[in-house]
Amino acid sequence: MTESEAKIIVVTSGKGGVGKTTSAAAFGAELAQHGKTVVVDFDIGLRNLDLIMGCERRVIFDFVNVIQGDANLSQALIKDKRNENLYVLPASQTRDKDALTKEGVENVLNELRKSFSYIVCDSPAGIERGALMALYFADEAIIVTNPEVSSVRDSDRIIGVLNSRSRRSELGLELKKHLLITRYSKIRAERGEMLSIGDVQEILAIPLLGVIPESPAVLNASNRGVPVTLDNPSDAKVAYQRAVASFLGIPETDSGEKGWKTRLLDGLRIFNRSTA
């Protein structure tokens, strides 16, 4: 893999708790079906990606150890047990976010570029150092937004930061931004109780990548440390898979067949739940 082919993708939102880590894990696991992928946790001091990916007991060295030269990248990278193309670079739990220097982060990302096709940066909430470092080197950004006022406002703020404080913006280059709406409830939006997809898209004015429905499958997956896209069939899994396909520019083929398969699986799931 040559450096130019590697793509750095930041998953960001401004607001906390909207599904950044869930989305980074789901995206990473699905991208790994298409090329070697690493998901990097930038939330220094509050690491959680390891837990969502189910590798929390295998963390020995972390991102900060690599930056400070206490460990090699190969020692810190954790290979996923379900997919050999998927890796995790965990955040440090004990250090603070000042450990992320621009040079340090750049060196690690350049090293990762040599062997990975997709580098997914899981940003912490807020617009402080960790979040700024996660987005600075990005080629593309996924903005995770809940259809709710505070999340939309913070997403707008982070879009402003991407436009003014990323490396690509400093170089006068375009940074591709994608809107990922999570925890969406079609029924509530139709009742006028929740911002609709169109509302959020119109307000934020960036292209829509996907819509993840509010789904019990997400908590179920995180409980067990399985990325949604590697877990049992669910509405959220299908939605994430579609979002990744759209990200990769893969046209939606035989959507009709997919439709009835999904419906059948959904039906079976409901049946399962009612009998359990």
Partner: protein, 88 residues
């Protein structure tokens, strides 16, 4: 009673519409602030360069602020000049 309730609910605005309107207002301000915060430091530095051509002033003696009230914006410049003997 139920008829009254029905008529009332017709009148009441959907909460999603209220959310959209509130967001549009708050974001128009936020976006303006973002743009302003982009140019203010630059403006401050350029003012400093120009003024130091004529008067000997320090970086912290110049204060630039933008205040917005309703549809009117006030750009406030505060430049503290040194005492006369310090001016070259």
């Amino acid at each position: 009673m139920s008829l009254l309730k029905f008529l009332r609910s017709g009148n009441r605005q959907k909460s999603a519409n209220i959310a959209r309107e509130r967001l549009q207002i708050v974001l128009s301000h936020q976006r303006m602030d973002d743009k302003t915060s982009d140019f203010l430091p630059k403006l401050r530095n350029e003012l400093l360069t120009v003024i130091s051509k004529y008067v000997n002033i320090d970086k912290d003696q110049i204060n630039v602020q933008l205040q917005r009230t309703g549809d009117c914006s006030i750009l406030e410049l505060n430049i503290t000049l040194p005492t006369t003997e310090e001016i070259f």
